[in-house]
């Protein structure tokens, strides 16, 4: 599997591995930002399956993120205490998990955080993926926001106040000491999730599945008339995104410590937009584009949030506009224009120049 990596990929991967392994020791002040970074890479990479590869721009993947977050936390809580009481009585301040309960809750929670959104994607997929283009975009936007509103009304998960996540158990001599405490643990989880997503997508894009996603993007009608059962591919792709986004949500909920329906879980205005932006910035439709985009975006974000506090969202909006207008192909897109050979393409300059393009802008 490592045999077909080229030099540039190996360098990039080595760099990310370095970051992942060394952060708890060398960059311990930035563990949360690094965890966020790897999660960003997951958000962007999974969005890319629909948005970049398949051409279905979705604002709805945040639904899977939010559902995963709530499912994970609820499972972690529910293995020990009734959920409704937890949320009503102030969470971890009132109820304390024993280490056994905590470490049972986590793998169970993470697992369900992946499975439940995947099932949701399976169910709503065939209804929503009939929509195309901007109808799909706006329809999924509506779904994302409606989910947040719906979550705000559910008292058992805390309603508008949200809920807290179980706290890392303070018992010496247990895994706690070994893993360096809660932050290290969840940082490592986000790093591992990223690696899983990376290798999974790297494999997936080389199979027929990856090619057909691009075919759907280029000419969905043609794909259908060539006998491809496009809906199967569309839904399966969404199920994959849902699975990984759900787990990402579960991990993030634990890192954040508390979950709030519209700002943290179904954060359409932040995470939901970030995932689109990062992918476009790095380059839609490629494996490394979202990763590069996430990296650069995280740098921007930390910069804005530190120096423009209060105005950071204004700066974010301006960034969106700037990228869209001046940089829509993203970094990978720019590279592809300049060095097509890197992408296995041959450009016949004569043929390209001979093409007469009629400006169709009506």
């Amino acid at each position: 599997m490592f045999a077909d990596f080229d030099k540039k990929e190996l360098t990039g991967l080595a760099f990310l591995l370095f970051l992942g392994i060394s952060t708890p020791y060398l960059f311990s002040g930035y563990r949360i930002q690094m965890a966020e970074l790897f999660l960003f890479m997951v958000y962007a990479s999974t969005w890319n399956i629909q948005g970049g590869k398949m051409g279905y721009n979705t604002f709805g993947n945040i639904v899977f993120f939010g559902v995963g977050m709530y499912v994970c936390a609820s499972t972690q809580i529910a293995v020990a205490f009734p959920l409704g009481e937890w949320t009503a009585a102030g969470g971890y301040k009132t109820f304390v998990h024993t280490p056994q309960q905590y470490f049972l809750g986590i793998p169970l929670g993470i697992l369900l955080a992946g499975i439940v959104p995947a099932i949701i994607a399976l169910i709503i997929g065939s209804a929503l993926l009939v929509l195309r283009g901007h109808y799909f975009a706006i329809g999924t936007l509506g779904l994302g926001i409606a989910s947040g509103e719906f979550a705000t009304s559910l008292e058992i998960i805390g309603g508008g106040q949200g809920m807290t996540v179980p706290f890392w158990p303070k018992v010496a001599g247990l895994p706690h000491a070994f893993l360096g405490g809660g932050v290290n643990f969840f940082f490592t989880l986000s790093f591992l999730l990223f690696l899983a997503v990376f290798f999974f997508l790297r494999w997936l894009y080389k199979t027929r599945f990856g090619l057909i996603l691009t075919a759907i993007r280029d000419n969905e009608d043609k794909a259908e008339s060539m006998g491809i059962p496009t809906m199967h591919y569309k839904v399966t792709g969404w199920v994959f995104s849902a699975f990984f986004m759900g787990i990402a949500g579960g991990i993030f909920g634990n890192i954040n410590g508390y979950i709030e329906p519209t700002e943290v879980a179904f954060a359409g205005a932040t995470v939901g937009v970030f995932m689109v932006l990062m992918t476009i910035l790095g380059g839609k439709g490629t494996l490394w584009g979202p990763i590069i985009g996430a990296f650069i975006f995280q740098l921007f974000k930390e910069f804005f949030w530190t120096y423009f506090l209060g105005w950071q969202l204004v700066a974010l909006g301006a960034l969106i506009i700037g990228i869209i207008i001046f940089f829509p192909e993203g970094i990978m897109g720019m590279l592809r224009q300049k060095y097509p050979a890197l992408f296995g393409e041959v450009v016949d300059e004569e043929a390209r120049l001979a093409q007469v393009t009629i400006n169709t802008d009506d």
């Binding site: 199979t207 075919a215 280029d218 794909a223 491809i228 059962p229 450009v347 043929a351």
Partner: protein, 247 residues
Amino acid sequence: MTKILEVTDVSKAYGGVKANEDISLSIDQGSIVGLIGPNGSGKTTLFNSIVGAHPIDKGSIKFNNEELSTLTVDQISRRGLLRTFQQTKIYGQMTCMMNMKISKKLTGKFSDMFQTIPKEVEEEAEQILSFVGLYQKRNLRAGELSFGQQKLLELAMALINAPKMLILDEPTAGINPTLINGIVDRLIKVNKKYNITLFVIEHNMRVIMNLAQKIYCMAYGRILAEGKPEEIKNDKKVIDAYLGAAH
């Protein structure tokens, strides 16, 4: 001779216009059949009806004795009935080779989705690309091919999908005369060598008279005449339709 396609009393109306009215025709397996008629006579509508691009108002369409009118486009394509488009459809952002690789017919198993495309498919693609004369361009982005080359690519993509019958909508439209001969030769080879039945819409009379064994002529949404090329050429109704005599 078995009939591979049987169309019976098919009608289709679009917003008040009767694009197809009581169309009945049949095509023998292994033959080449032409469909001619002036613009607006409903030829493409009929093709669209056959391949399932829209539902029909009434009638029946049987392919290898199976009713098609209730099936979707991809279901029909998987049964071996493929079409090419008047406005050529290919995957513009992908290379020709990739266009070919994803056009290979699937076995229908779920695991097909995740298969790494085997070497044999690539070899077969190269073979077919050579056949249509696009081997040199195999790593070029399909969108950058010339108009005629795209038509050939579309044909190649159909071939690697191993259809039993191919419906071609104006395969020589807009092509320069030298390339037209090349396309006609290849179509004849495709029919003889691969035993693919062809149903062709054409406006180029020279081409269709040489290519087809049987020709249907449509006008105003109906079948006007059918017969061998010689008969059709001299059929007064056909001549009138093209020259616009009173209906």
